[in-house]
Symmetry: C2
Amino acid sequence: MQILDGQLVSKTIKDSLKLDVAALVVEGKRPPHLAAILVGNNGASETYVGAKVKACSEIGFKSTLIRMEDSVTENKLLSVIGDLNTDPDVDGILVQLPLPKHISDEHVIMAIDPSKDVDGFHPVNAGKLVMGSPAFVSATPHGIMLLLEHYKIETKGKQAAVIGRSNIVGRPMSILLSANTNYGNSTVTLCHSHTHNLKEICLRSDIIVAALGRPGFVTGDMVKPGAVIIDVGITRVPDASKKSGFALKGDVDFPAVSPKCSYITPVPGGVGPMTIAALMKNTFTACQNNL
Amino acid sequence: MQILDGQLVSKTIKDSLKLDVAALVVEGKRPPHLAAILVGNNGASETYVGAKVKACSEIGFKSTLIRMEDSVTENKLLSVIGDLNTDPDVDGILVQLPLPKHISDEHVIMAIDPSKDVDGFHPVNAGKLVMGSPAFVSATPHGIMLLLEHYKIETKGKQAAVIGRSNIVGRPMSILLSANTNYGNSTVTLCHSHTHNLKEICLRSDIIVAALGRPGFVTGDMVKPGAVIIDVGITRVPDASKKSGFALKGDVDFPAVSPKCSYITPVPGGVGPMTIAALMKNTFTACQNNL
């Protein structure tokens, strides 16, 4: 069994981007600029946005963090996005989800200029993904693809189970793995809450992507020897032994599954850092298109 | 075994639209207007466009057929689309595919205003489909969903195999069947040219959608008793016994498969007429949004 080390691969990608940024600056161009909007004080959101801003600074990207109160109106948020859309100095815009209940995720996502939508959530980008056109791919699935690529994991002709059909992970992951591309061409079964025979489907899968957000859901008896396991889950569970009072748990029962599989992503340190690397890559691409 | 009679269901849908159009006209509004562009003289394309124009006239829609020479430039075609986009009298625009090789399908599709894209090919519509937002769904998958709905075929929790991953049929079909909607919620395996164990996948499927364009590809030994079979294929094969010199063949070996299954679409008379019914429904919706 080999660990798919997201921390390491993410660092490799960020190091390479750092050189790319330095080359831009040598050419007299400005570095890429990511604008992140954080509404309210959700602890996990603070952590995620903090990590993204930190990654920008490590690579040499400019970043702007715009904080807004929980009580901000949707109109105010949309108007700030409008300003970022027209600001030629901004390449990428991300709005950290979840948003307060009085704000529509969909309105916000639709308001972002698709050419600055480095999270890949806008329907134009989702649609281009379906059509196989160049697009900003949602950061988590994009990060997983970069991880598969780094470790040269054969996907062509393999059977894959994707568990969870969210717009931002499961659904695009199922599309990427089944597309006619390198590190695609798997035969993908998309599983969800109405799937009856999940264990059976997993047991015949060469690749399992667990993205449902239920800690320890994929157990040892669901995995075929030699399978590749991608764990997208990252749930905070109470843990008195930790200073923070919680531990991060994936959707896979790591102690039981890891001895059986060929490759596995740990949580934390697997998909999470790759998501950030993918976001940075998308922002660099947006900047190149913009300049 | 019951035939899924696309001819009959299409007629039912068109009859209902006819009443809706009459109601519009009573309200003093204009009827829906579909503009179709046909480039060159491909025989199958002539037939398809002819059937669409005929359906418009049966229902009481206005239709405009714009014919262009095979030699038309891409720019000229794009400019005609631009005019239709801004024409307030036009609700729906379709460009019959395939186009001559010197014209990019993608440029043409991207040029159509998504709100008039009744074929559902524009990435905005494909993306909204992925995201579960209201969208124009590509006419063939939309027609299949209408057929499943008409016959009240249970899809929730069923295993489905979709064979073929084209942008306009297989891929959107896999999304619709697995979405969290009525007549969705199936566990879908999307199969394609790199799928190794297709027979095995088909044999365990409750629903098979064949959309690869290879006549008679799905044989009797690939189908589990009681399965629901949707045949999207429609290939012209030489047939000296026909006046036209060809017969239309589906992707399913009908004589061998039909005795085993619970429901099956014939070719012709199954999915084909439903595609037209779905296009008409999309055009009516576009008109309602437009008025």
